[in-house]
């Protein structure tokens, strides 16, 4: 199996993409934008009409889609693939207008600022506006699949739980009614799913385990798939062969590969991920990375 690609296993990608919403999250630096973009490309390849949403930081997703930046209005990236970035003031505007039924707002400036002051202070409000935009796109029904490049792992709990937090804070009123349908949509396993991206290293694995425990306790969304990114294939050489090659780069690279692979396997067994994506050697641009990973998703 010299250099065999590590392909996704254990999960039917096609079935995964049958849902209407996939929220992708992971610790900073594990490649969640790359995975979001790759999933989107794969779904488009299967003939779906897809919207990708950058929830908190848009740059990663934009670059993996080959764009400088994304707008709040959904733009077509290529046939079947659209993208937008949640820009909070605009999301707040839409939330007030569409969801709370604020009629014709003439003085949006002061209201938006006042609401922003509130959202920065009262727990859950800021997150409910961001989640609200994503869930609203799902509810509208214009897309077969919405893929959300979510907040980093550290903030995912406060986002997923935002509708509950708001109902605890605001017992009545329109905000409360909105929170109710959001919770239902998120909890529906046939509609919403989640992917936790990780690396086979100590910190990302530990944080992923913590997140899985949190998700089991809170039951806000169906259990996520765990995606282990940048996984090395086993080196197809015996210790004897490595010894025989003599000192020099070939031996060094072999020993490096072998040790890294063993380390990765040690961490991976603690988590048994649903999907493994390969380490990509020497690739330059984010769109290349997304395209390669999308191909790998297709090799099931």
């Amino acid at each position: 199996m010299a250099g065999a690609a590590v392909v996704p296993h254990g999960t039917n990608v096609r079935a995964m993409l049958e849902r209407r919403l996939i929220i992708v999250t992971g610790k900073g630096g594990v490649g969640r934008s790359a995975v979001s973009a790759a999933l989107a490309l794969r779904a488009v390849h299967l003939g779906k009409r897809v919207l990708t949403v950058a929830m908190t930081d848009q740059l990663g997703l934009a670059l993996h889609l080959g764009r400088e930046r994304l707008e709040y209005e959904a733009r077509e990236i290529r046939p079947g693939l659209h993208a937008l970035a949640v820009h909070r003031p605009a999301a707040l505007n839409e939330y007030l207008k569409v969801q709370l039924g604020v009629p014709k707002v003439t003085r949006m400036g002061p209201l938006a600022r006042a609401f922003d002051a509130l959202a920065s202070t009262a727990p859950g409000i800021r997150e409910v506006v961001t989640m609200g935009k994503v869930l609203w796109e799902v509810r509208k029904g214009a897309w077969d699949l919405v893929i959300a490049d979510g907040p980093p792992l550290g903030q995912i709990g406060s986002h997923l739980r935002a509708p509950q937090t708001v109902t605890e804070l605001v017992p009545v009123g329109k905000v409360r009614e909105q929170a109710d349908w959001m919770m239902d949509l998120l909890a529906d396993a046939s509609i919403s799913g989640m992917q936790l991206v990780t690396l086979a290293e100590e910190l990302p694995i530990t944080e992923t385990q913590e997140a899985l425990t949190w998700l089991t306790e809170h039951q806000v969304i169906s259990p996520p798939e765990v995606v282990a990114n940048r996984i090395l294939p086993a080196l197809d050489a015996t210790s004897q062969q490595i010894k025989e090659v003599g000192p020099g780069p070939a031996r060094e690279a072999a020993l490096m590969h072998k040790t890294l692979h063993e380390e990765q396997q040690k961490w991976i067994t603690q988590l048994s991920p649903d999907v493994q994506l390969p380490f990509l050697f020497g690739l330059h641009t984010p769109p290349e990375v997304a395209a390669r990973l999308a191909d790998v998703w297709g090799e099931e």
Partner: protein, 345 residues
């Protein structure tokens, strides 16, 4: 004794915490009394540093006489900050308020501010020659330096003014908030009670202003006197963070004293002369391609921002002992250890 400060910054996942620890161990072994302040270290690294509990209290290392370590907890730091800057009764009310936790977690600046204020406390304690600060991941890079100004602004009433529409009213006026046309809708959506609770909370936060504003100025002075290391890898996201030190440069951000590329592969893996064919050559070819990519990225960065670059080799195993950590710095190339205060003449 005056303390020098070494700030280790950079994007998420670049090995900032490990390098902070490695620099601290190197300094301690060179006879420099060193405190390393970490945030969220991996368990094995925390163990290597002799860290057991979260908290701002530095603990001396049992095997390394010149080494101390502390592991910050932003939530506990903020409680201490409230008690430091607000009158006792207001501080008690603040830390019990559920909004306090939300507000101090919401802003990327608040985690940075908490560690910056702890940094200032350590420096002023004058108990160490060198304080190495591993900056919070949420700050990315340059946000760490603008955090004091940002917090001063927030505590000073920016949000409160947004809520009240300009001037800061007396406490009594808060109960007529929903009379503001702009807030009538928000009041209807959320209930006027919530608006009032938020406004009251923001009034309480304001009582920290004088103390915090004074402290922020002192912290900024410490920043100006600090040494800064920017850590990155050859990956696009951390590279963008590193580039911001040169591109966006707000006034209070010092020029980095070193840019460190971490997880660097040997340059002689590029054009390999294959000893024979077979799987090992195939393996070297793909790693050589990765090494080549890394070199190109480093050259490009150095040329674009006219800076020297230091490199730390990629170690397949995470360092788990003080010796491993020290070895990382020994194997590094181009690190200006003297300028960074890690070794002294």
């Amino acid at each position: 004794m005056t303390s020098k400060v070494l700030l280790v910054t950079g994007g998420g996942g670049v090995g900032k915490t490990t390098l902070s620890a490695a620099l601290a161990v190197t300094a301690a072994r060179a006879g420099v009394r060193t405190l390393v302040v970490t945030i969220d270290p991996a368990r094995r690294l925390a163990t290597a540093l002799g860290l057991k509990n979260l908290g701002s209290e530095p603990s001396p290392h049992k095997d390394e006489p010149n080494l101390w370590a502390a592991m910050l907890d932003a939530s506990a730091s903020w409680k201490a900050i409230a008690h430091r800057h607000a009158p006792a009764d207001v501080a008690d009310r603040l830390v019990d308020n559920p909004f306090f936790e939300a507000a101090t977690q919401h802003f990327p600046a608040s985690q940075s501010y908490a560690s910056a204020e702890e940094m200032a406390n350590y420096v002023e304690a004058r108990a160490w020659d060198l304080v190495v600060v591993d900056t919070p991941p949420s700050a990315g890079g340059i946000e760490f330096f603008s955090a004091p100004a940002e917090m001063r602004d927030l505590v000073g009433g920016r949000l409160l003014r947004w809520l009240t529409g300009g001037a800061i009213p007396g406490r009594r006026a808060l109960f007529t908030l929903t009379a503001r046309p702009a807030l009538r809708i928000a009041g209807a959506a959320l209930g006027s009670d919530l608006l009032e609770r938020v406004a009251e909370f923001l009034m309480d936060m304001r009582s920290m202003y004088d103390g915090l504003a004074r402290r922020a100025v002192q912290i900024e002075q410490h920043f100006r006197e600090s040494r800064t290391v920017v850590v990155t890898t050859a990956d696009p996201a951390p590279l963008r963070e590193a580039a911001r030190f040169y591109r966006d440069l707000p006034e209070m951000v010092p020029d980095p004293d070193a840019v460190v590329f971490n997880r660097v592969l040997p340059v002689d893996w590029h054009n390999p002369k294959p000893p024979s064919d077979g799987p090992l050559v195939e393996n070297l070819a793909r790693w050589g391609a990765e090494a080549h990519r890394q070199t190109e990225v480093r050259k490009e960065f150095a040329a674009l921002w006219k800076t020297e670059i230091a490199t730390v080799p990629w170690r397949p195993k995470t360092p788990t002992t003080l010796d491993d950590l020290a070895a990382l710095i020994t194997a590094a190339e181009g690190l200006p250890l003297e300028r960074l205060g890690v070794v002294t003449q």
